[in-house]
Amino acid sequence: MKIHEYQAKELFDRFEVPIPRGSVAFSVDEAVKVAESLGKFPVVIKAQIHAGGRGKGGGVKLANSIEEVKQVADEILGMTLVTHQTGPEGKVVRKILVEEGLDIDKELYLSIIPDRSTAKVVIMASEAGGMDIEEVAAKTPEKIIKVWVDPGFGIQPYHAREVAFRLNVGPELVKQFAVIIPRLYRLFFDYDCSLVEINPLIITKDKKLIALDAKINFDDNALYRHKDILEYRDLDEEDPLEVEASKYNLNYIRLDGNIGNMVNGAGLAMATMDVIKRAGGEPANFLDVGGGASAEMVENGFRIILSDEKVKAVLINIFGGILRCDVLAKGVVEANKKVEVKVPVVIRMEGTNVEEGRRILQESGLNLIVARDIKDAAEKISSIVKE
């Protein structure tokens, strides 16, 4: 799960990680009040959306007077911000963060993530802060410092000192690092984060370490033990169809293509999307109905796929194991009774109770195209695409 910068900074503040003074605003009037309370200019106004690259997209601006605050806040609130992470359709800005401007001496990069291959937590830092860190890692990997922490043993002061000394920040700042990195680690650990990132982490002219930006992602599998974090969820930032799918525990991701698909199992779902692409179509979604899907889940999944107007055809691919083919067939038949299906539907199923499933589909009288196997399904999709 992703949260906004201002929410991440609330968590930083709770863990005593220094952040700029400021507050979130939902309107121009609120922005003015925050700016007045800060008592000095310039102030920085930052669009709050769940995507990076906001500065380049025009979503981060300075204001040097109350008049300018009004003007900038009005400009950013309600704008559709397009960045390299939002996709071409962009995201509407509904809230802004208003903060004090600071005198920056140096911009650094710092993040904490789980490392898959070592099963340890890795702290990453770089002197090349403020830049696209993926580019830094690709072009100049030697500029990325990595320090691994054993999760059982936990963070020790020397981990933090190692990061600081290798960043060449000088003795006074090493002390600040030795305090702040363990606090960030505790935040990462206590809240089951999948990412804690500060880019840039700044050193001010008066030698203070401050998190100018804040990004936190959480491990979805651990949210059950962090009910307070669930309150940070912002449905405005999610695709409405994905929100709808999540109500039924369906694993659905909306994509840009024209062929809807419903599959059981994530690996087979990805492979089915690839089959669609090879057949000349573009997948309109990823949908894994899961191993133990009920007829009701299948019905809802089918309905959600069909409510995407871009969908020109649907491919259902089920390898019945725990999810039996007869259950799938019943779900599809029920969904057909409730929603008007205007596009061709290709069904391929195999595995447990496949004969019974095929019989239910046949006797339903529905206009479904039954495929023998994946190859046949791909050919059928291909001929629909060509029409």
Binding site: D220, N221, G267, V275, K277, I374
Partner: protein
């Protein structure tokens, strides 16, 4: 021969009295697996069908000589269950559970490094040696005994691949799902090493997906250590970056973990890469021609 499980496997099921645990225990028994014990804390002394239930894994191992555990415990308690099995000295632990938090799995993985237990999974379909022993949730009848070892990160995609092999009359020595999580126990390399050493296995099928670099590392290993022919498949060519495609581990981030990079690594390692899933069985028939 086979790898990791066979007729000698004495299976214990953790979470045997739950809905999933009961259902799949019965399926395993029906396949011929020797299920000797179950564990559900607080239900020691009861029976699930004919299987005695114990309160702790230690009790179950002591009383029944179980040498493999299959775990159906819900995600919040699964890390604990895996560590309990390892602490009781169970040599092979197969964790089916999906949705275990990453930090829990980190603890588990670091703990397992201090024991002699092998973990398969979590978030996996399990392992089957066709005709001998099924430890997992895969549909038994699609498998047939034979010379090909199968390793995969996913569940139903493995069934698809195995089904196509069987359709072509190509049997399997052992099929293992290593799971779709970012941190898991047994990896591709462990399985490759075991299949290379297993005389029954004449060829290997490796099914990967986007996310991480396990496939690339496996390819490097194959170049240096594997002499048996390998056929590979990677799912997720059309997956967009930054979105988790169902499996917690299936995510392209920071330009790494793409399907194309994995396919390239496989080709470079001399693996026959199947790009069209519909032709998987047919391509295997050609690629394994000499050994099957």
């Amino acid at each position: 021969m086979s790898i990791f499980v066979n007729k000698e496997t004495r299976l214990l099921v953790q979470g045997i009295t739950g809905r999933e645990g009961q259902f799949h225990t019965r399926q395993c028994v029906a396949y011929g697996t020797n299920v000797v014990a179950g564990v559900t804390p607080g239900k020691g002394g009861q029976k699930m069908d004919d299987v005695p239930v114990f309160n702790t894994v230690k009790d179950a191992v002591r009383e029944t000589g179980a040498n493999c555990s299959m775990i159906f415990v819900p995600p919040a308690f699964a890390a604990d269950a895996i560590m309990e099995a390892a602490d009781a000295g169970v040599p092979l632990i197969v964790a089916i559970t999906e949705g275990i938090p990453v930090l829990d799995m980190m603890k588990v993985k670091n703990f397992l490094n201090t024991t002699n237990s092998r973990l398969i999974g979590p978030n996996c379909p399990g392992i089957i040696t066709p005709g001998e022993c099924k430890v997992g949730i895969m549909p038994g009848p699609i498998h047939m005994p034979g010379p090909i070892g199968v390793i995969s990160r996913s569940g139903t995609l493995t069934y698809e691949v195995v089904y196509q092999l069987t359709q072509q009359n190509i049997g399997q020595s052992t099929c293992i799902g290593i799971g779709g999580d970012p941190i898991n126990g047994t990896n591709f390399i462990d399985c490759l090493e075991a299949f290379q050493a297993d005389p029954q296995t004449k060829g290997i099928v490796m099914v990967g997906e986007i996310g991480g670099s396990a496939e690339e590392e496996a390819c490097e290993y194959i170049v240096k250590n594997v002499t048996k022919p390998v056929v590979g498949f990677i799912a997720g060519l059309t997956a967009p970056p930054g979105r988790r495609m169902g499996h917690a581990g299936a995510i392209i981030s920071g330009g790494s973990g793409t399907a194309q990079a994995k396919i390239d690594a496989m080709k470079k390692a001399g693996i026959t890469v199947v790009e069209d899933l519909g032709n998987f069985g047919v391509i295997c028939k050609e690629a394994f021609g000499d050994v099957i």
